[in-house]
């Protein structure tokens, strides 16, 4: 199914299973993501796509199967896990900027405390990243003073400041007012164009069409179908995918 391959796989999930009590949220999910690839995960709510995304940096521990990142199996805990997480940028639906820190401090915290960069150096880089996402003039404000779209762009800058090998986006635009979705997607599109490895859980079909190398469709905890976006949207193979697309694309 994987038709677009660039380099070797960076993230490999092999028969991953996850239960929440009696609920089987991931069922034998196998997925390989290449370096520089942009994979968009779509599917109905409750299909397990967020859990899948969060399992890649072990915010959700899995119950079965293996996940390999950059050739290494995910560490279970401790320093090794922290080190892995520092290499994987994560952007959340609810932004999760540190409420008691300024925008600038949000972006410099990781580089200074985890990467042990010099504060001045980290600040310079943070300002460059904030400038890139168009928030440099808000650096001294607190997150609550910014709009949702601005906060999410800061969250992306915060993740980029760690120089991650891959970025995970867990429904990054779902909590935004419609007029702010575009500014966040613009930043994501430019990242994708630069060759960042990205896993994006989203309902933004437009983004999936133009920025994804591959669309992964999930339903009921299973990976049902994957294909390049043009192919997937024009000619979905499974009934579940046809049904899902017919519901979201008719409006």
């Amino acid at each position: 199914m994987t038709s677009v391959a660039e380099g070797e796989p960076l993230i490999v999930l092999d028969r991953v299973n996850k239960h929440y009590g009696p609920l089987h949220v991931l069922r034998d999910v196998s997925l390989s993501i290449d370096r520089g690839e942009v994979v968009v995960v779509i599917g109905p709510s409750g299909s397990g796509k967020s859990t899948l995304c969060r399992s890649i940096n072990r915010l959700e521990p899995i119950n079965g199967g293996t996940i390999t990142f950059d050739g290494q199996p995910l560490p279970a805990e401790g320093k090794a896990l922290a080190r892995l997480r520092s290499d994987v940028g994560m952007v959340f639906q609810s932004f999760n900027l540190f409420a008691h820190k300024t925008i600038l401090e949000n972006v410099t915290l990781g580089p200074v405390k985890v990467r042990k960069r010099k504060p001045a150096e980290a600040k310079e880089r943070a300002m460059a990243l904030l400038d890139r996402v168009g928030i440099a003039n808000q650096a001294d404000k607190y997150p609550a003073m910014l709009s949702g779209g601005q906060q999410q762009r800061v969250a992306i800058a915060r993740a980029l400041a760690m120089d991650p090998k891959a970025m995970l986006f867990d429904e990054p635009t779902s909590a935004l007012d419609p007029e702010m979705v575009g500014e966040v997607l613009d930043v994501m599109t430019s990242l994708a164009a630069e060759g960042m490895t990205m896993v994006v859980v989203t309902h933004e079909m437009g983004f999936a069409r133009h920025a994804a190398k591959r669309v992964v469709f999930m339903a009921d905890g299973q990976l049902v179908e994957q294909a390049p976006p043009a192919e997937f949207f024009a000619n979905p193979q499974s009934d579940r995918a046809k049904d899902f697309l017919s519901k979201i694309l008719t409006h």
């Binding site: 940096n57 915010l59 805990e77 320093k79 922290a82 080190r83 892995l84 997480r85 520092s86 290499d87 994987v88 940028g89 994560m90 959340f92 609810s94 999760n96 900027l97 540190f98 409420a99 008691h100 915290l109 990781g110 405390k113 985890v114 607190y142 609550a144 003073m145 969250a155 915060r158 993740a159 760690m162």
Partner: protein, 224 residues
């Protein structure tokens, strides 16, 4: 008339309340340090630490303070020979501080833990996702935000601590309630006045303390 004019009485009164102030100060500091550590234990990913924290809280929160202070004196000092100072007053003082700190730490721990629960899980998830360790997440992200939510309830805990400090009188420290007992014994006709003076002194200190904590809580409230 005797009561108010006798300089010895004034001395008793001032000594009594100076012990209360010192017991409260040292006890609050000890309880705060212990309470923060215990709260850290109770939210830690390590089951043994969580169990220890829970056991500590359940033991000391549910034991009468009088018993704990007695144990410090008769158990730690008389039986086990733990002497915290060669001076008898100071020894009793420090034994009292240990009892107060241990007892109050369980309430501080629970106040802080409820504060930690007001910090959304997303805050610590985002911090962990950056690669911060559990300890860094707690210290840099969770506790600073929890502290702001916890100021008002902590104020109540410390006010209770100030009043509980009178229990150290039971192991012989000449704090305010002992001073009051002596004064009542010597001035049986002026019991009401003595009560009013001692209760009034506590109120004069503690009511503003309560307002101070309330003001701090409002001032430092987390903006969301």
């Amino acid at each position: 008339m005797d009561l108010l004019s006798d300089p010895d009485n004034l001395d008793l009164y001032l000594t009594g309340f100076s012990w209360i102030l010192r017991l409260t100060g040292a006890g609050a500091l000890g309880a705060l340090v212990l309470g923060v550590i215990l709260a850290g234990f109770r939210v830690s990913p390590i089951p043994v630490l969580r169990g220890f924290g829970a056991a500590w809280v359940n033991t000391f929160r549910n034991t009468p303070l009088t018993l704990i202070v007695f144990f410090c004196y008769f158990g730690l000092y008389s039986t086990l020979g733990l002497e915290l100072s060669e001076e008898i007053d100071l020894n009793n003082f420090w034994l009292g501080v240990v009892g107060l700190a241990v007892y109050t730490s369980s309430f501080v721990c629970e106040a802080i833990r409820s504060g930690i629960n007001t910090v959304s899980a997303g805050q610590s998830e985002a911090a962990r996702a950056l690669g911060l360790s559990f300890f860094q997440v707690l210290r840099m992200i969770v506790l600073p935000q929890a502290a702001r939510a916890v100021i008002a309830p902590l104020g109540s805990v410390f006010i209770a601590l100030a009043k509980n400090a009178t229990i150290v009188g039971t192991i012989g420290l000449a704090e305010s309630s002992n001073a009051m007992k002596t004064l009542i014994n010597d001035n049986g006709s002026q019991v009401i006045l003595i009560f009013v003076i001692f209760a009034g002194t506590f109120a004069a200190f503690l009511i503003p303390t309560g307002y101070l904590f309330g003001w701090l809580a409002n001032r430092l409230a987390v903006k969301r």
